[in-house]
Structures are given as structure tokens and as C-alpha cells.
């Protein structure tokens, strides 16, 4: 396929589109609420009313407002219907001819939608994830063509560097720098790995991207392959995401069919094949060296760095590992330019970030916002606050992050500000808690998680998490003394400083941040003084 053919296909697809497109969400969240039944009845209603010449029903990916699914959205009117059932679906189609639709109509001007800035999720909920043609119609794969024919690998790396993009998996390492390091490495065999092992509980951004717009990620990976000189890519996806795996498989097949993936991409000398590797339920595999071990078919035990994967990664070859959301940003950076991208966000955190806003909050779902927005804007304006209550804390960064108290809601969301207050950006989970949630219990919840997920290779993490868990249990049972809290805190720092990989280094964060901001809850649980004496 060449550029003319790509553009012709895009044009042909666009002209085939009916004037009214009814988008029905078929992502995991909405499917669980029977959105497939809704889609079937929408199709039936189109047929019955004989509107097939101007109305088409399209199964699409995530629209973001997952808490109110199944969602149906109609273009070009931009009407949104929430909690549609198979029974009420037909009325939506009838309403197009005048008449009333039964399902609740959502407000697409609500801050939840209006305050978003969609770059990665631009086409999510509009594009059919199971048809490459639909992606191409929206300008897909033109960025890949552009890099292959108009740019050198060096200029691609340069463009990504000057965009200011930082790794979206949580660490925030400058993406361009990583690419440049791998590109400079000697050797003919290099690899690109996409880390889709989204293990943080409370985070589902990557699942949603893979389910809603898989080609966007594949395009980003292929561009990366060209830039660093790799011809083989792997996507590592959690086994818990069967729909994402299915759609990726389909997307890779379709890409090969059109000559966009595989050998001689767009008839150029560049080859790029992509394989999927499925995880098997191990949180530690999100750590890059553990992930490499897992791709090689072994236990997911991290190994000490350096050497970093950029130097010696998969099968000892230089390897580039980026997160799903990072790759999903690439095509847009190439298409619209680094200057445009770096105009979004703050000085040190550029672009947008997707968050999974969940927990005790009125509007829950996925939002994409520019970096630098405050937590208050996200939680109170977009999320609508806690139903019948007040926000007590917001947890970001999953088991590696911390709990931010309501008093710090005016903190801006960027990599450095969040680290400064003892939490971290993480992959993007944001769980809102109200006064019913005990912070000590939350700390123990995360410690139980880390205790179960530690790979057992290094001592501080293996035994430290178990000991921290017993301290927290002792506190919750009312058997602890003030000395126990001191010991626990000291142990936290020891585990943090001496663990081998990110899991252990960050595991104490939920404890430390709750100790920092909610110490009174720990103190209230201490052993009561007996006979007027405080036990030591």
C-alpha cells in the first residue's frame, strides 16, 4: 500500500459513512451491562424503521462515562444516552424520526466531558476498534507513512524528545531520551516492547485504549521501531483483559493484510512485526525487567539494573519498553508536531494524561485532562464530588502511590508536584475515598496486595511487606503501642531504600502517606492505657 492508496481508502471509507452514526459502546464495562444486547436491538430498530440508508449503528470503544453505561451516542447531533437497556434501545432510533427516546439523556456539556482534552482518546468511542478501515478513515497510519518517507530515524527521535513526552506508566522518564539511548546502541537486533500489564488496582486506562483504539498503539510501536532500528515488537497484555487481547489480535491481522505491519511496511525497506504475549496474573511483571523475563517464558523475577533494558533487554538485545498510553501519544506528536504537543501541560509535564476516576464519586469513568489541572477540578467539578458526603482523600498511583488528603486538593496534577506530596502519578488510577473509609485499613489493603504480589527474590520486599502487614493488623486490632508505629515507620524506610525493584521501593508509600496525613487515625487505634498507665 502506498500513500495514494491509503488516502483513497480513507476517502472511500468516509464517503461510505451514513449521515447519522449511532455509536454503541462495546467495551468491557458496558458489555457487562449488556451493551451487546443494546446494539442488537438498535440494529433491529434501524431495519424495522427502514432508515438503513441514512443511519448506521457502530460498535465502538470506551466513551469514558463507564459508571452510567451502557452508553449510546449519536453523531452529528452529539446526543448521549445513558443506562440504555435492550428494551429501551429501539426508542432511540424511533426518536430520530421525531418521538421521544426512553433512556436518560446525558449532558454532553457537563464538566465531566467539557473539561476534558482528548488527544489519546480523540477517537475513542467514535472509531470501530475492530475495523482498520475505520481507523484509516480518521487519518490513521498517516503518521507512520510520514516517518517512513519524510523523516530519518534521528529526526523522529528528535521530534519525540522535543515534544517533552514522559513515560505514562508512572515513572515519568523522558520518552525521547529513552528512544535516543536505544537508538544509539550497537547491534542489528533490537526490540520494542509495549507494557500493557496494567496491574494497579483501580486503573483501567490501558485496557480502554487497547479495546477502543488498538491501531493507535500499533502505529506508535511501529514508529518507535523505525526510530530505534527494531524490526520486532511485543505487546504484553494482562490475561485479565480478554477483550483487549482479542481486538489486538484482530488489529495485527488487519495491519498485515494491508501491508502496514509485517515485512516491507508501506512498500519501504522497513519491516515490523508485532507479537502478543499474555500475562498470567503477576503484578510484578509491570516492572520492566520482570516483564522481559516473562516474555522469555520464565518467572517474572526482576533483575538488578544496570544494565538497563535499553542496553541489555529482551534476549540480551537493546530493548525499548514504553507503556500503552505513551505509544498512543506518538502518532499525534508526529502528525501535529512537537511544538503543538509541548504547548499542552506544564513546564515539566507536557501533554495530557488519562485518569481512571473511581471510588466514592458521583461521575466515575475515564477522563483525559491536560497536565497541570488541579485535583480539585478533577474530583469536584468533573467527578461531581462524593454523593452525600465529603472527599476525605484521593488515592493516586495504586499500591506504589499515596493518599492525598482533601486539604491538598489544590495540588496540580503533574509528575513532580505529586511526588512532592508523597504520592505519585502512577499509571493513572484515582480512587476517591470518603469519611467512611478507614485510612489504616486502606494502608493494610495495599500492604496485603504487595505482600501477595512480591516475587520473593529480595529479602526486604519479601519479609518487609509481611512484617508491615502484621504491624498494620496489630494496630487495627487495637493491640499496638506508640512504639510499634515508630518501628513500622523505620521499617518502611528500610524496605524503600533496600528493595531491588520498584515494587518494594514503593510498597511502603501508602503507609507512609497515611501516617503523614492521617496520623490521628493510627493514634486512635492504639492500645488503651490500663490502670491509668500508658503501656510502653
Amino acid at each position: 500500500m502506498d500513500l495514494a492508496e491509503l488516502q483513497a481508502l480513507a476517502e472511500q471509507e468516509r464517503s461510505k459513512r451514513k449521515s447519522i452514526r449511532v455509536h454503541c459502546c462495546t467495551s468491557t464495562g458496558c458489555q457487562a451491562a449488556n451493551s451487546l444486547g443494546v446494539k442488537e436491538n438498535l440494529d433491529k430498530a434501524v431495519e424495522e424503521t427502514g432508515m438503513g440508508d441514512r443511519v448506521e449503528v457502530v460498535g465502538v470503544g470506551c466513551m469514558g462515562f463507564c459508571g452510567r453505561g451502557p452508553l449510546v451516542q449519536i453523531d452529528p447531533m452529539d446526543t448521549l444516552y445513558e443506562e440504555v437497556t435492550p428494551e429501551t434501545a429501539g426508542s432511540i432510533i424511533h426518536a430520530l424520526n421525531g418521538g421521544t427516546a426512553e433512556p436518560v439523556q446525558g449532558d454532553s456539556q457537563h464538566p465531566f466531558f467539557a473539561r476534558q482534552m482528548r488527544v489519546v482518546r480523540e477517537h475513542s468511542g467514535k472509531v470501530d476498534p475492530e475495523r482498520i478501515e475505520d481507523y484509516i478513515a480518521l487519518g490513521g497510519y498517516q503518521a507512520l507513512h510520514k516517518v517512513l518517507y519524510e523523516m530519518t530515524p534521528e529526526t523522529v527521535v528528535q521530534e519525540v524528545s522535543s515534544s517533552g513526552l514522559r513515560g505514562r506508566g508512572g515513572g515519568g522518564y523522558p520518552t525521547g531520551l529513552k528512544w535516543a539511548t536505544v537508538a544509539k546502541m550497537p547491534g542489528d537486533q533490537k526490540y520494542v516492547i509495549c507494557n500493557g500489564d496494567e496491574g494497579d488496582p483501580g486503573a483501567f486506562m490501558d485496557r480502554s485504549i487497547l479495546e477502543s483504539d488498538p491501531h493507535l498503539v500499533l502505529e506508535g510501536m511501529a514508529i518507535a521501531g523505525y526510530a530505534i532500528g527494531a524490526t520486532h515488537g511485543y505487546i504484553y497484555v494482562r490475561a485479565e483483559y480478554p477483550l483487549a487481547i482479542k481486538r489486538l489480535q484482530k488489529a495485527i491481522q488487519q495491519g498485515k493484510k494491508y501491508g502496514i505491519l509485517g515485512s516491507q511496511v508501506f512498500n519501504s525497506p522497513f519491516d515490523f512485526k508485532v507479537d502478543i504475549r499474555i500475562g498470567a496474573g503477576a503484578f510484578v511483571c509491570g516492572e520492566e525487567t520482570a516483564l522481559i523475563q516473562s516474555i522469555e517464558g520464565g518467572r517474572g523475577n526482576p533483575i538488578p539494573r544496570p544494565p538497563y533494558p535499553a542496553e541489555k533487554g529482551l534476549w540480551q538485545c537493546p530493548t525499548l519498553i514504553n507503556n500503552v498510553e505513551t505509544f498512543a501519544n506518538i502518532a499525534n506528536i508526529i502528525k501535529r508536531g512537537a511544538e503543538w504537543y509541548s504547548s499542552i501541560g506544564t513546564e515539566k509535564s507536557k501533554g495530557t494524561k488519562i485518569f481512571a476516576l473511581t471510588g466514592k464519586i458521583r461521575n466515575n469513568g475515564l477522563i483525559e485532562v491536560p497536565m497541570g489541572i488541579t485535583l480539585r477540578e478533577i474530583v469536584e467539578e468533573m467527578g461531581g464530588g462524593v454523593p452525600d458526603g465529603e472527599v476525605k482523600a484521593v488515592q493516586t498511583g495504586g499500591p506504589s502511590g499515596g493518599c492525598i488528603p482533601a486539604s491538598l486538593l489544590d495540588t496540580t496534577v503533574d509528575y513532580d508536584s505529586l511526588i512532592k506530596i508523597g504520592s505519585m502519578m502512577g499509571s493513572g488510577g484515582m480512587v476517591v475515598m470518603d469519611k467512611e473509609t478507614s485510612m489504616v485499613e486502606v494502608a493494610r489493603f495495599y500492604m496485603e496486595f504487595c505482600r501477595g504480589e512480591t516475587c520473593g527474590k529480595c529479602v526486604p520486599c519479601r519479609t518487609g511487606t509481611v512484617q508491615l502487614y502484621s504491624f498494620l493488623t496489630k494496630i487495627l486490632k487495637g493491640q499496638a503501642t506508640a512504639e510499634d508505629i515508630e518501628k513500622m515507620e523505620a521499617l518502611c524506610y528500610m524496605v524503600k531504600d533496600t528493595s531491588l525493584c520498584g515494587l518494594g521501593m514503593t510498597a511502603p508509600n501508602p503507609v507512609l502517606s497515611t501516617l503523614r496525613y492521617f496520623k490521628e487515625e493510627y493514634l486512635e487505634l492504639l492500645k488503651q492505657p490500663q490502670n491509668g498507665k500508658v503501656p510502653v
Binding site: 459508571g67 488496582p201 485479565e240 517464558g297 504480589e453
Partner: protein, 174 residues
């Protein structure tokens, strides 16, 4: 491409070998391995396939995979026990997985699990004595928008309460 290193292969134990070879489910496994040219790095994928067709990973199957891929049995066993999704014990006819991710936890999935443990008389990770229901907990299903979520025989159900999940489970008994 990785080189295939022949490590100390397991001595075949004839008895179990025959038992396994007679099994038709093994064909599926054989096809998966053949398609991947018996490369050792596809071990996890092969284990997924094995669990899918056998329901769990019995020792004979692990032994068979080890020999086919020319891997030490200790390595295969090590991988099978490292990952949470692989089970070395048979599971019940029905499965109920309660999501214990943060969002579900904050919205009361702990209470759902507690109720089920109470009613079924088993603890999480166990199967009812009649072999009907296996109760499990997941780290996070990524279905946080519809928390708390429970997976019943592979189908995700959102916004659950202890009562609603229990009602769904009781349907299995009928």
C-alpha cells in the same frame, strides 16, 4: 531470534506419558507448541492452553510440556506456581471471582466476598466440597467504572451487592 538451549531434560516416566498421550485434549497443546516451533519462550502460552483444555495443570501435563519443550520440570513447575492464574488443583464446575481492586474494595466488595464465604462455607481460593463452586478473588479486573464487579463463569457483572451476587450463585444450584 532466541537460541534454543537444551537444558537437562526430564527423564520420561513411561506410565504417565501413556496416560497423557491418550488424551485428546493434548492435541490442542501439541498444535500450540508445534505452531511455535517448540520454542522455550512460549511456555506461558502453552500453560495457558493447557489450563484452558484441562481445567487445571495436573502433574502429568506439566511433565509432558517439560519434555516437549526440552525444559527441566523444575523450570515448568516454577513458572506454573509463580503466576496466580495457573492452578495446580482442579476447580469447581462454576467459578465466582470477586474483584478486590481498590475501587471495588472502597465500594464494598469485601462485604460481598465475606457473605459468599459465609454462605458457601468455604474460604476464598477454595472449592465447595461438592465440587460445584470455586470462590476466588481478583486483584483488579479493570472494570472499576461499574464497581464492585464480580465475574460469574466468565461473565462480568457490575454494581453488585452481597445479596445480588448470592442470588446469582443460587441460580447455579437450581
Amino acid at each position: 531470534m532466541p537460541k534454543t538451549v537444551t537444558e537437562n531434560a526430564v527423564t520420561p516416566s513411561q506410565g504417565s506419558d501413556k496416560k497423557v498421550k491418550d488424551d485428546k485434549r493434548l492435541k490442542v497443546l501439541e498444535i500450540t507448541m508445534k505452531r511455535n516451533h517448540y520454542r522455550q519462550d512460549v511456555l506461558i502460552e502453552v500453560l495457558h492452553k493447557a489450563q484452558e483444555s484441562f481445567g487445571y495443570l495436573e502433574p502429568e501435563v506439566l511433565d509432558y510440556i517439560a519434555r516437549s519443550l526440552k525444559l527441566p520440570l523444575s523450570r515448568v513447575y516454577g513458572v506454573a506456581t509463580f503466576y496466580h492464574l495457573f492452578s495446580l488443583k482442579p476447580s469447581g464446575a462454576h467459578s465466582c471471582v470477586v474483584c478486590m481492586g481498590t475501587a471495588c474494595y472502597v465500594k464494598g466488595s469485601g462485604k460481598v466476598l465475606e457473605k459468599l464465604e459465609q454462605e458457601l462455607g468455604i474460604e476464598v481460593g477454595e472449592t465447595t466440597p461438592d465440587g460445584q463452586i470455586s470462590l476466588m478473588a481478583a486483584r483488579c479486573l479493570g472494570a472499576c467504572g461499574i464497581a464492585p464487579a464480580v465475574v460469574l463463569d466468565g461473565a462480568v457483572a457490575g454494581k453488585q451487592t452481597p445479596e445480588s451476587t448470592l442470588a446469582r450463585i443460587q441460580e447455579w444450584h437450581e
